[in-house]
Symmetry: D3
Subunit: 239 residues, 6 copies
């Protein structure tokens, strides 16, 4: 089995994280997983949604979008169609849930962090790149709050990163690009924290059911890939 | 650890499948997982959506809803609010994807099967009950097409069933009801086919990350629970 | 003239009222007018809509829906289309108006009763069955408020019930089922209270104008039918 | 009992019908029932809605709106809110149904007549004025089709007119204006044709249930009022 | 070059302003630019939108609509389509912005003036007629506030009027009607105040770019036309 | 008068055009006017909208959006709110109209060019940067069609560019950034073609009316700025 990109099964695409990509947001990151490019911003606002008011806790929520021509053929603009599709909603709920696992909401206090992940170029793995990049943007936003003395204790519990794995032509592979993703028998998105705990596991049989052994093999690849992604995140944050 | 319901960790709630629950649909099932009750109908229409026309293949799609007072406190009616929420869309996409894994679309020919899962009483596990009940309704709809000679070969590949598993007070448990679900550390929905293959695995860390061992333990419970559910499905279909 | 069902012109379909049909709502009724089946729930919430605040009065409002396959061919789901149709709105406004005629709002105090009528199987007369069943659910919700001492005086003024009448093949008939309804020359929905007062009269010439004599004959049938329905309501409440 | 306007119980407000009120529509009428003023236009388009195609029949449909400041306090503009309210939909369905009773759809052939009733000043009775004015506009549109030889036989079966009646301070009264309407015990809208047949009867108990005698008295007033309105329609058309 | 209407290039259509056209609004004007007829109302409400609260300033905002058959062929009703089109929004933003230039918001105090411009008959120039008529309605609304002593100082800074100019068959012309507008090479809408200051200039090359000389010639025509319109406004207000 | 940026009144911000910014679109440009950054893509699809079918002509249309945190404080995402605001629609209509002035639709044949302008960082002048960048993307898309021999004659008539001008502290200035734009007395957007013809002129008095002399001065600045922008466009296309 040869991957279309020539990568080895356990090989990530080149990953690049550019901080301060745009100038207004408290955290702004361009993340690249190969040709997949996502702008992830973290915006801080005082106050929390109605259901949390008065509890002294913070909130993290996320929205996701794709530029209409981030893909091979132009998609309708969701703002023009007047609603976000099911896939968009599913992804933004996943991003929000994943990032909340990195934050101690009591220590964040009554602040909301709005994550925006906007895909400017898509080549598979946009949701995993979004989570991985958004975590870095969120750390920058938290550091901003700390510098401003708006919060005293550090609410960051860990880093969160995500990668896709799948069964492609019978072989478990890491970090599928679009040519692989569109033909994979099974596709799985895994979110983990920097301490090796699982946050989300979403596996889907696309063309054929998968076995427990295949699941194990995929989880093994994901673990290793996420460990590498966390290293890239930490290096970016260290600069 | 004692479960609120007094069940053993590996024990399903009483499951009941009533076929021909309403009179108009080609397949109509009331499924009960304990106090969770869902009406699942399968409606057959000739023709397929635009993106499939002329390929000689069929289609299976699903919609999901909850009656406003199926829950402890009344929820807004989605039709009145003017849109389906993210959770609803996520669930109906999962149901559709899961059931498509049971059907040979070529043998179904240019027919569409619309699945409707409407929760009339909710006590946790509405999506897993929906999938399990909808599969029975879909079989009835397929049998209807065969009786009418609208299709010649049997497009049914296998049965599909689903159950939730989770970590509740540190213990892996099967088929969470609402009191468990709302407090579980981890919640996982598993969809499998009657041959033991995985179709979907969706695990979410609610309160704490989960380990690979916990994941394995949960998958083990799910396997056994789904085998039991398939038996109940087959008994219902045999009547 | 023979009715498709073989009933006599002045004969109701078998009517059945099942209280406590679902477990969460303060009032929950399954009502059956022959093959027409509607789940009617009454949900109590403290407080009233903005336009009534501070007046010390309560409010009763209603919503109506049909499951997509409650009918002979599947209808679009209103939540998915993103809006409630004109027929739905007309019916839910009628249900709300009718039930408000049974309640002394001053005695209800600042509570809102939300009525939900969801048709699970349709065979004509869904709006009249909804009103008749919802009144029983509302009485249960009111009794719940009284048991909890949330209100002191009984706000229930009377019972409300409803039935359709029409001219079918030249003959006035009571309680039309779908085969009659779709061919009737005239169709009229009548809502009355348990003291014989008219609450709503909505007559429509479908195929031919109707005369004052026909109107009188239809009203006569409705009166008698509603008296019977009130007896069924009272028997259900007495159990 | 004195009516706020000083009218006798059986007295209509001054009714005025101005044909050719605007210049583009095939039929365009300004109708005034006292201070209530409605622009009614009838627009002819070739072709019919999808559900009627190929049957050789025509269609009549109606839309209704109120200018935001046609009323005492400004209402939200429905186009800006993004949907038509339940009352609007109820009224436009009533107008369409009523006018269809005046037309032989076979003779109309595959043409659609779109009725638009736009209230520019409201003082009660906007739906009855709309129906009465729209019928005149529709006749002008039908005459236009005949003059153009687009249809050969006259599809007009009769005239349609409408008036409200009610119980005001215990007395049945004809053609309620806003001060009466807002305080009436009962409010009823009656649509009849020029041959004395009933098309629609919609009676609502606002403050108290009504008896069969009150219903009869109201119908008697309506009959006489509608006969007068038909005379005004015919005089307008004769000019 | 002959204009379709036979007017000279610098000639306005007959302009007519009827105050108190409808009875409920604080200001209500029917303005006619030839066959173009627009009902302009100004409604006063206490309070201001959220973004202005507590500043002691007032607000003026505008909405615009066209009756479906105000035009040669019937347009869809925006309320029925569920949204206002881009052209509508552009025009109502222009009307609001233009009229705010006539008002000292501090002196208006915390009142909102809602302008509604509803076109009942269209023949080109609906936005310019709207602005010109709405200014008169607004003055009436301001005078109403002054008579009621709700404001003490006069917030009116000047009159605002508007006219279209264009290049038609190579010649600059004033106040284009629909036959000219639909064929003009360039179309420009100009808003000025009664002191000769420009408020808005919106020129669009429809069929060919325009030169600075053409722009100057058009502005010259607009100036003179607006001076005439201000005279008509003042005469109307003087009656 | 000193401009906040220290620029001379007639000085543009540094302008940078990066072609092939993303990989999927037929034309893809990142344009920077100082800190304002917009991704402009041009996507080609065969066929034209319904209103043009069968005429042998092409079409150019545009959509515009801002990433939620492209601005100083986060804006709501239009896709999540469910509609595009009035400002967005106004801008995208302007972009489409402007670019259509550069194309001979007959020579484009039945192809549609969809322009998408997405602002990733905003500092004033997003609409003028969008037009200027989109024109370059459109040229690339046209060249793509020519290389593929999908069209034979060159449909490009000229280049189109745009810049803002305004009166800031009494002085006419070119290419306003956000600090100037938010305080300018007058703001004007000018679109011209590469042959010096005006395509659009949109001037708005923000704080004070403007005179004909000020208008002339602003137009003079715009002319010179646009000539410079056209040079930058041509250099980018020459690479």
């Amino acid at each position: 089995m040869t991957r279309p990109s020539g990568r080895r099964p356990e090989q990530l695409r080149p990953v690049k994280i550019t901080r301060d990509f745009t100038c207004h947001a408290e955290g702004s990151v361009l993340i690249e997983f190969g040709k997949t490019k996502v702008i992830c911003t973290a915006s801080v606002t005082p106050g929390v949604p109605r259901f949390l008011r008065g509890k002294g806790e913070g909130w993290v929520t996320a929205e996701y979008g794709m530029l209409p021509r981030s893909t091979g053929s132009r998609m309708d603009r969701e703002a023009a169609r007047g609603k976000q599709g099911g896939r968009t909603q599913e992804i933004q709920r996943l991003i929000g849930r994943s990032l909340r696992a990195a934050v101690d909401m009591k220590k964040l206090g009554e602040h909301t962090i709005n994550i925006d992940c906007d895909v400017i170029q898509a080549d598979g793995g946009t949701r995993t790149a979004s989570i991985t990049g958004a975590c870095v943007a969120m750390v920058d936003a938290i550091r901003h709050l700390q510098r401003k003395k708006a919060i005293l204790d550090d609410p960051l519990l860990c880093m969160i990163a995500s990668v896709s794995v799948g069964i492609y032509k019978g072989t478990p592979v890491l970090d599928l690009d679009y040519p692989e993703d569109s033909k994979a028998e099974t596709d799985m998105n895994v979110v983990m924290n920097s301490e090796g705990g699982f946050i989300e596991v979403q596996g889907t049989a696309e063309a054929a059911p998968f076995s427990e052994e295949e699941l194990s093999a995929m989880l093994g690849l994901a673990k290793q890939g996420i460990a590498d992604l966390v290293r890239v995140q930490k290096m970016a944050l260290a600069q």
